[in-house]
Subunit: 247 residues, 2 copies
């Protein structure tokens, strides 16, 4: 029974002492801007790390909300499903980014969060986070900024879905990934996609065949080299130019 074994393995590793202070993603995450003493107080909240296997759900629609999650390593997608089976991917998240903000308003999660590769996450009990942010102004303010940034990101996705053609959407998507990988110290020009064409399509409001065809066209035009999930950006400006051209 491989599943049970996996479960057992997960639980034995479920509680690993960890700390923001030694996390190299802290500048992308909640601890941003805290001084060492404040950081230590945050550490005391973020006491447990959880390992997740590829394909596992961090939470599902309807799960009770009581913590937000920070990605220590790995890659996630969040999605919403409707009855008839349609899926909308609402975002792809990587190291240093927060998951679970959708659950605050109803005390239940309103989307699913799924690991797209083996990942490592920190759980931050939300009510304790609220308490602490009443005492540490910079934590409070930064948390507000993170939520606001999520709203602004969502506006960007609406722009994408509402006004852009397929080429523009995919160019924007690649440039966004590139920029986020770069910020984390990875190559800006070469990376592996963690998601399938179908998931990209769902995020961008396109069918997987359209995503595949558009990748091929980008390759023919010399903007990128693509081989399955491996992407190399050959001409950043070419991609940027694609985004500003009407019709």
């Amino acid at each position: 029974m491989p599943l049970q074994n996996a479960q057992r393995k997960v639980s034995s590793l479920a509680l690993v002492k960890t700390a923001c202070s030694n996390c190299n993603l802290r500048e992308f995450c909640l601890p941003y801007g805290l001084d060492p003493e404040e950081l230590e107080r945050l550490d005391s909240l973020v006491s447990n790390r959880r390992r997740m296997k590829r394909g596992e759900h961090l939470y599902r629609v309807g799960d009770p909300f009581d913590a937000i999650f920070a990605i220590r390593s790995g890659f996630f997608k969040t999605d919403v499903l409707i009855e008839d089976g349609r899926e909308q991917v609402t975002g792809f998240q990587m190291g240093g980014e927060l998951l679970g903000l959708d659950g605050i308003c109803t005390e239940q999660h309103t989307c699913n969060a799924i690991a797209l590769e083996d990942s490592d996450i920190c759980a931050i009990p939300f009510s304790q986070m609220e308490s602490l942010s009443r005492e540490i102004h910079s934590l409070q303010h930064h948390f507000h900024k993170v939520m606001s940034r999520e709203i602004v990101r969502d506006h960007g996705v609406m722009m994408l879905l509402g006004t852009m053609r397929a080429e523009e959407r995919l160019a924007a998507f690649l440039l966004n990934l590139s920029q986020r990988f770069t910020a984390r110290g990875y190559s800006h020009a070469e990376f592996f996609l963690r998601m399938t064409r179908e998931e990209i399509g769902s995020y961008l409001g396109l069918k997987l065949e359209t995503v595949s065809r558009t990748f091929s066209r980008f390759q023919e035009e010399g903007h990128i080299a693509v081989q399955q999930k491996h992407i190399r950006i050959l001409n950043v400006n070419g991609l940027k130019a694609l985004m500003n051209h009407r019709s």
Copy 2:
């Protein structure tokens, strides 16, 4: 110089003493869940009301952010523009809803907020709001819920734009408006649209002609009666059924 006159008129009315405690929208707004004593403290922040004429900007992209705004009466749209002139309407806001949350993350507004009818808004200085929410737990928590609700709403719009056909989008739009009007004590079946077909189209990722044609089709099918901006919903269940039908 009518513009200058308008300006002068606005400034003379710019500071009107007002209070959450006598606002009948307080249950939809920031004061939700506060006890009378807490409400009074919030009142001391929300001390000025501002009247706005139809078409006026409450703020623009790039404006410095220092306050969030609550709509006391009226109707707004928020939008984002790209260089080539394309517009994405990111939302329509009505009484009791907050505007300006997009500005927190960069301390500058990232979208435009425009009054679609003569409106009345309350400005809440943000840093004072943060201070107060460090002292009033329920204010803090409710504010977090409001931001989270905005994120969840955005996910709904993504679903709309990413997976739905024109009919479904417009049905969802009408049902959403109806539900919000109902919650505020207006008729659930009859209302005036404050926005043009083009603005609806921009919000829904459709062209204005498609919006118009789809309204006409809904009318032919007996779901609604539409005459210009006046809408009467004749068959709520018909509209709901439209949303769940694949193809």
